[in-house]
Amino acid sequence: MFDVYKIREDFPILDRKVNNTDLVYFDNAATSQTPIQVIDAISDYYKKFNSNIHRGLHSLSADATSQYEESRTKVRKHFGVSENHEIIFTSGTTHGINIVSSGLQSILTQDDEIIISAMEHHSNIVPWQMLCEKTGATMKVIPIKNDGTLDIDEYKSMLNPKVKFVFVNHVSNTLGTINPIELIIELAHKNNSQVLIDGAQGAAHIKINLNELNVDYYVASAHKLCGPTGVGFLYGKSELLNSLPAYQGGGEMISNVTFEKTEYADLPHKFEAGTPNIAGVIAFGVALDYMNSIGFDNIENHEKELLDYATENLKKIDGIKIYGDNNQKISVISFNIGHHHPSDIGSILDQFGIAVRTGQHCTQPIMDFYKIPGTVRASFSFYNTKSEIDLFIEALIKASKMLG
């Protein structure tokens, strides 16, 4: 049985006061909160197991290594991947994307095209711009429609033999839109193009099976999945990861070093140079266990309820405009009220203890599309409640009144 009040007891921060009132945390798309089970896993690691991994012969190192590798198994299983070495631990989504973009420098040529979408996070734009600058390849952009969905017809017409790669997010962090990635991947593959999906937002809200999805690369961050900061993973098909050159040089990622020549180690070590975020990786595994103990079905249902409830009540507010008001979205709502600047709304909400994000959300092209300086973004997680939404709506109405 899904009991949101019982779940909230796992999250110490939800008891916090902000500006003398109870915290209402609606900035989950920026980072999720951390249950005590995950916090304790980190403490436990440092209290009992802390040790550098992989090459240590002593028991401490052996324990740390097996916990670290067990976490890889957890990630692999959770995301429906068959091989452990196809999971590369990274410091986050941005790092994962950069491993691929850097690797493609030696593969892409000036005759090639790549496709991204107009609703990408800067982390899924800038690395490809840098890649195009270095290789001379051309970047094409799938436009968005006014309802905040991708223009798939346009995408179809953009596919041609020159297109080697397609980079699209699973879910937009600004609009909440769930993109039809199955279709995007299928069309790309028919065109012999490879696909990287930015799962930073999707992974936290939708259970996916990467092998069934048949995606080429997928990246996500632990800190949006109830896990710690500074950890994420890159999934890639073995043969593709093997074909990419190593990204960073360092310890762990080589099998043999002389000054004349260096042999790279096998996957996943080839891409995990240096001492990794060991505690973080282990805690990431615990975070996935935690979310699975709640159940992604329950998470999706509850978040859908929150989304519908909030959308319905927001629409009653005078002058509100919701961006991306379609019926394929996760619990993220971007909006503006009248001509009020989002930061004015955000500042006042903060005084009521309500944490929302304001601004461009690292998606400047979306702002350019709607011709706005930014939005107020409320994003809900499975531990949020309808009564928090009531407080939020009430505060919004007051803010709007104050701003006149």
Binding site: N19, H341, D344, S347, Q351, M402, L403, G404
Partner: protein
């Protein structure tokens, strides 16, 4: 003409009347509304102050040995804040502006009601004001 310090004290007295943060915010919002908008030709990038989440434009001129400031913002609370700064700084001599100690922000409790992002913006505004003053002083 009152000194920069006298004006600051005046503002501190005014804010003493407010009972809670919402009255302070309401006052800033009203100040923001009363500050005239720039025309579009002053809303240019070279007048933009870096470091604010909202856009803040600051312009200055030099008359009778004093610096005159004008400002605008696309966010109303920022505009209210900068209107306080204009009230404090505009019409004073460069050397007075450069020497001035700014204590009213703390004393009216604005710092605790501004997030780090806004507070950084505020610092950026004050810095830009002092840069203008320095420029005029050295031009003389």
């Amino acid at each position: 003409m009152r000194t920069i310090q006298q004006i600051q004290n005046e503002i501190i007295d005014e804010f003493d009347f407010f009972e809670d943060w919402s009255e302070k915010y309401q006052y800033l919002i009203d100040l923001g509304k009363n500050l005239p908008n720039f025309d579009n030709k002053s809303r240019i990038d070279s007048n933009l102050i870096k470091g604010c989440q909202s856009k803040v434009w600051l312009n200055s001129s030099f008359k009778n040995n004093t610096v005159i400031f004008e400002a605008d913002s696309d966010a109303i609370i920022s505009k209210g804040i900068i209107s306080l700064l204009i009230r404090v700084f505009s019409g004073h001599r460069p050397e007075d502006i450069l020497e001035a100690k700014i204590d009213f922000i703390e004393k009216i409790g604005l710092n605790t009601h501004l997030s780090q992002t806004r507070a950084n913006g505020l610092l950026a505004m004050i810095k830009q004001i002092k840069i203008y003053a320095l420029a005029y002083q050295s031009k003389r």
